[in-house]
């Protein structure tokens, strides 16, 4: 490829990429602001997963009964608080 051919190829590339970048597009993606409620709903999924893990590990014999009950009560309280706040925000 000669220098002139290279420059022509470069100009064609420039033209194509500029057209691609600035092509009028009305359907560009946008999203609503993430709220605290969205965060809490995500957190709820994580807490459910933590509870599932705890139950599974208990069934697998990793936790003695008293440890399991303590941990489960703590997680359930955390989940209950979270669900309460979700409920409050959804009603507001």
């Amino acid at each position: 490829m000669t220098e002139t051919e290279g420059l022509i190829a470069g100009l064609l590339l420039l033209f194509a990429l500029v057209v691609y970048t600035f092509w009028p597009e009305n359907a560009f993606a946008s999203q609503k602001e993430k709220t605290r409620l969205d965060f809490l709903l995500e957190r709820k999924e994580q807490l459910y997963e933590n509870l599932r893990d705890l139950n599974f590990e208990h069934r697998a014999g990793k936790y003695p009964e008293e440890d399991f009950q303590t941990q489960r009560a703590l997680l359930e309280k955390e989940t209950a608080d979270l669900l309460a706040e979700i409920d409050r925000l959804q009603q507001a």
Binding site: M1, L17, E66
Partner: protein, 689 residues
């Protein structure tokens, strides 16, 4: 092609600069809600498209360079310096990263590729991706500025165009070298993505930890690439440098190892943030440090800052890197100080004996190792600055510190999975640790019985002691991980009536991340056992004429002849050795010495002959002729368990791939959550502000 390549790089720079500028303005307008003539969302979208277009432009430039190598276009200085007509095709491709300009182009192309994929997936979270894309554009601007103005790969040769090039560095003409640098660079460059997400999430005060979930696959894939890159480099050093080892604590080896250490720490501690909203500041700084260490690694490899067998370039681009790293650090510090209120922890460490604390210890140990290696790597520069003389830190310094640290890490690899989250009782510890502790002491007894003892001829041997500890802890960790699999599989077997094997498979598929991670831990154990084998390396060296023999371990090597060969690329000279064991001929080995016609023909290169079995490697080097006697010199090594290192890598790759696969949807949770109570706002959960 030079004109097209140079033009494409200029276009790529303009597009990356537009991406950075328009993206920053758009995000600022969105954040402040300032009214503008153009919709900020539209402006952000043009910035995103500029990022995608930039990928095409950098691809065109990379293509132009590779094409020039294949077309033997010796009007380009880079092609003259790194290729020649007789160079085999795969190595012509490798010319792209064999020199400084080409490797920087590879960096830019890989960053463009990562950015391309990221920008195509922007609908996952438009705003977060816009922040990450803009930060990546900033990094891309830096590399494209260097490529356009400081280290242009398409610079034309002044004067007469030669008929042939100087050829590729012979040390690089090795199959692993075709994939080792791209793997390493995929790892280096890949850490830009979690870095960009972390910085972006902090800048926009991203509510929650979903950004970690989004970047999880990126981080794991990047870690996998870096791991493979490091191991391929070890394999290359083992097979090409001919000293019988695979890791010499060379500054460039260290440079790749440091981000691996901090990246591994990040992969672990980020789980605490996901599950419990802890360690937020720590994680942010871990990923910031990892990115800066990848930059340092690139600087060490490319700018000739330190002497190394792996540093294939000497140049003055160091100043560019110092300035860039300074700017990045300043932005990180400023953003952290400005937004640190967003990083308040939601929970505190409840017990020193818990999964969280094991992650914390793991992180502290990994960071200590990283600091020690950084200190040793930069010590020659610091000592020259302070004392005026360059003092190099050798392998004994690193081994003295890194081996105990590594063994403690191995210990934590087994302990972590056995500890429950939050807190644990003595009863729980006793229940979970019985089997591994029995396995540990049983291994110690077996090792002592078979002769693996911490003393040699009555004197204490630290190498043997560490090997004994590594074997014992390694087996204990293996048992700990295995017991985790078996416990879970038993539950599933009881629930579903499946056999244990099928239940283990279902268990793994239900939680790929956890059990994939455990498989990686098994891979680490196998690697450590392989490394521990080096305490028992043996070697012999001797001049060998035809029909002479040498003995090493159970093998006898008999020389049956020496021969020479020649092709367009190099002349070679090799010995033919028949290997026998107990009088029975097993196989033939042909260690070789090559003299390349171009690219360093004055320094013959070693091609080691390696015969690998699970127990050890028989590793034979043809060291050339003794100038005094005219006799060929053969050096043979018997390196125990080296094959386990590469097998461990395969297990680690498999585990990471499993961890990357999506888990099966969770079974219905047996939740027993009390009826939601009305709580006052002040006692609401922290985080997500």
């Amino acid at each position: 092609m030079a004109a097209l390549g140079s033009f494409a790089l200029l276009i790529a720079l303009a597009l990356a600069a537009y991406n950075l500028l328009a993206g920053t303005i758009a995000l600022r307008l969105i954040a402040t809600g300032t009214p503008a003539r153009i919709s900020p969302e539209r402006l952000a979208d043009t910035a995103r498209r500029a990022g995608i277009a930039g990928f095409y432009a950098v691809t065109a430039a990379a293509f132009a360079l590779v094409w020039s190598a294949f077309a033997n276009d010796f009007s380009i200085t880079y092609i003259v310096e790194h290729s020649n007509r007789a160079l085999p095709a795969p190595y012509k491709f490798a010319a792209l990263w064999s020199g400084q300009e080409g490797s920087l182009l590879l960096w830019a192309w890989l960053l463009g590729t990562y950015g391309f994929v990221l920008r195509l997936r922007h609908k996952t979270d438009v705003k977060l991706y816009a922040y990450a894309g803009t930060i990546l554009a900033g990094i891309q601007v830096f590399f494209l500025l260097i490529l356009n103005f400081a280290a242009p790969p398409f610079a034309l040769l002044k004067g007469t165009i030669p008929d042939d090039g100087n050829g590729l560095n012979p040390l690089l003409q090795y199959p692993e070298m075709v994939i080792h640098p791209p793997m390493l660079y995929l790892g280096y460059v890949g850490f830009s993505v979690p870095f960009a997400f972390a910085l972006g999430a902090l800048m926009m005060r991203y509510p929650g930890e979903k950004w970690i979930h989004i970047t999880r696959a990126w981080t794991m894939a990047t870690w996998l690439f870096l791991t493979c890159g490091i191991f391929l480099g070890m394999r290359w050093a083992y097979a090409v440098l001919g000293w019988g080892g695979y890791w010499g604590w060379d500054p460039v080896e260290n440079a790749s190892f440091m981000p691996w250490l901090t990246g591994t720490a990040f992969l672990h501690s980020v789980m605490m943030q996901e599950r419990r909203g802890m360690m937020k500041s720590w994680n942010v700084w871990l990923i910031f440090s990892t990115f800066l260490l990848t930059m340092l690694g690139t600087l060490l490899t490319r700018a000739g800052l330190v002497s190394s067998v792996h540093a294939f370039a000497q140049s003055s681009i160091g100043t560019w890197f110092y300035v860039f790293m300074g700017i990045v650090l300043a932005i990180c510090i400023f953003t952290y100080i400005y937004q640190r209120g967003h990083l308040k922890t939601e929970h505190h460490l409840e017990s020193l004996v818990s999964r969280e604390s094991s992650f914390l210890f793991n992180n502290l140990v990994l960071l200590t190792a990283c600091f020690v290696i950084l200190w040793g790597t930069l010590f020659p520069i610091l000592s020259e600055y302070v004392q005026g003389t360059k003092v190099t830190v050798g392998a004994p310094f690193y081994n003295r510190v890194a081996i105990p640290i590594g063994l403690f890490l191995l210990f934590l690899t087994g302990v972590g999975p056995l500890l429950p989250w939050r807190a644990t009782s003595f009863k729980s510890i006793r229940r979970n640790f019985v089997l591994p502790v029995i396995a540990l002491w049983a291994t110690v007894i077996v090792c002592l019985a078979v002769g693996v003892r911490p003393w040699v001829n009555g004197a204490f041997s630290s190498g043997n002691f560490y090997a004994l500890v590594a074997f014992a802890v390694g087996v204990a960790v293996f048992v700990a991980v295995l017991s985790e699999f078996l416990r879970g599989a038993h539950v599933i077997a009881r629930q579903t009536g499946r056999n244990l094997l099928s239940a283990t498979w279902l268990l793994t598929r239900r939680n790929t991340r956890r059990y994939g991670g455990y498989i990686v831990h098994i891979g680490v154990v196998v690697v450590v056992l392989g490394l521990a084998g080096s305490a028992f390396n043996r070697n012999v060296e001797s001049e060998m004429g035809v029909h002479d023999a040498m003995h090493i371990g159970p093998y006898t090597l008999e020389c049956t002849g020496f021969t020479q060969d020649s092709n367009a690329n190099y002349d070679s000279e090799y010995a033919i050795l028949n290997v026998t064991k107990g009088g029975k001929t097993l196989f033939q080995m042909t260690p070789e010495k090559r003299a390349y016609h171009l690219g360093g023909g004055d320094q013959p290169q070693t091609m080691v002959a390696i015969h690998s079995v699970p127990m050890w490697d028989l590793y034979v080097v043809y060291e050339g002729m003794n100038p005094d006697t005219g006799q060929p010199i053969i050096k043979a090594f018997l390196n125990p368990l080296v094959g386990w290192i590469w097998a461990g890598l395969v297990i680690m790759v498999l585990g990471t791939l499993i961890a990357l696969a999506p888990s099966l949807s969770p079974a219905t949770a047996a939740l027993r959550v009390p009826v939601a109570r009305q709580v006052a706002p002040e006692v609401a959960l922290k985080g997500g502000d």
